[in-house]
Amino acid sequence: MHGISLTDIERETYKNTPIHRLDGRIKLLFLIAIIIYIVSLPKFSTFALWKLAGLEMYLILLILIARLNLFYVALRYVMLTPFGLGIAILQPFFPQAFIKEFTIHELPLIGMPWTEEGLLFGALLFAKFTVAVTTVILFSSTSPMTEMVESARRLKLPREFALLLTMMIRYLFVFWGILNRLRRAQTSRCFDIWNKSVPRKWILEQIGYSISSLFIRSYEQGERTFQSMLSRGYDYTADIFVHKKRIQAPEIAFIVVTILVVGNIHFLG
């Protein structure tokens, strides 16, 4: 999709490091806790910027321990940046409703006015975005999707929704394969969405038809899968089977260290 495909992420999750081995529930809680912490930091404070920098260092340390491919991590980050950067970069040029007084400067050469307060707010937005994205990259690269859902199920995600999500994960890979084969067959017959020698309208039709074929195939996949599920005793009470693992020393150590680090960053930083 964005230069990083499902399979790239999946490959990272197959590594075997202390971080990868941690219980999925702990990692899921870690993700949620960090995100909540970041988001609840004040939206206008230089101090928060330093806390975020500290947190980012800790996350990078964990990424190193998890031996993630750094090129892959950087690529994922860069792919996502435009989403956060776009909104942040405009901030110095707009008045923020919650700020009373502005210190105004002008851009050299073009003379466009910008505010110090807006710059700080934008920087904070971008810093929060960066730390959040780093957390998601770390989390998604160290726990396979199935494990995430199994963990969520153990943390009381409703039965039906857990089954929906696990099956979706399975079929993500099936349809990813179908999409690639469809594209390959189209490329083999010289299809190119930028082909100048055919009308644009015709190209859009072909894309529409491809999407329609994918839609029907996914619906029919569901129909066939339903029959095979019934054959294995499926009914409205069905649940996923959770292979139970216990919380052990490494998990506890991870929690303690994280609380110490974040606590330190928060109160000292």
Partner: protein, 214 residues
Amino acid sequence: MHIGDGQIPLEQAVIYWIVALFFIWLSLRWARKEMDEAKVPIFAALAAGIFAIQAMNIPIPWGTSGHMLGSVLAAIILGSPFAGILILALVLIVQGCLFGDGGISVMGANILDMGVIASFTGYYTFRMIKGSLGMGKASFIGGWVGIVMGAEAVAIELAIAGTFPLIPAMTWMGIYHAVIGVIGEGLITAIVVTSVMKTRPDLVATSSKVGVPA
């Protein structure tokens, strides 16, 4: 049009989460009634399919490519905005947790914009004009309205959050999505709906059933 973490303050994000969860619950209830146990495999596969569909490049003006959202499409074919909500919720959860497309704290807001608001406005626009304009044109307008409204909802949420002033946000999000939505969502939705009607007419709930789905 994914909102990222940090762009909406926690307390507002929590409210959006609650609203989104309420709609997910409603859509599950709808699915249970309409498709009983078959809903799990069908929606799981459809969500995976829409995920793949969103990865198909569509040439939009200015030499760039965009992609489809698909919530209005799902709503029209399955005959209820709840279908669009359920599928988009699944897709957004995977995108957020796996790819980092759209944040975690703001996932509720994203589900609200691209799932709930896009599906509802798009689907009911389609329903209103289907009789007079026919399936194709109504799908086109429905798809387009859905994406524009979803984008405007993002603008409003960002404005409430204090991240962006309301008027410029609504203007620019509106104009941008109104332009790309003509092709990426409107036209493609229309082509897909008419083509599914040709191939599997029985799948297209809206073409046969009248009466408002619960």
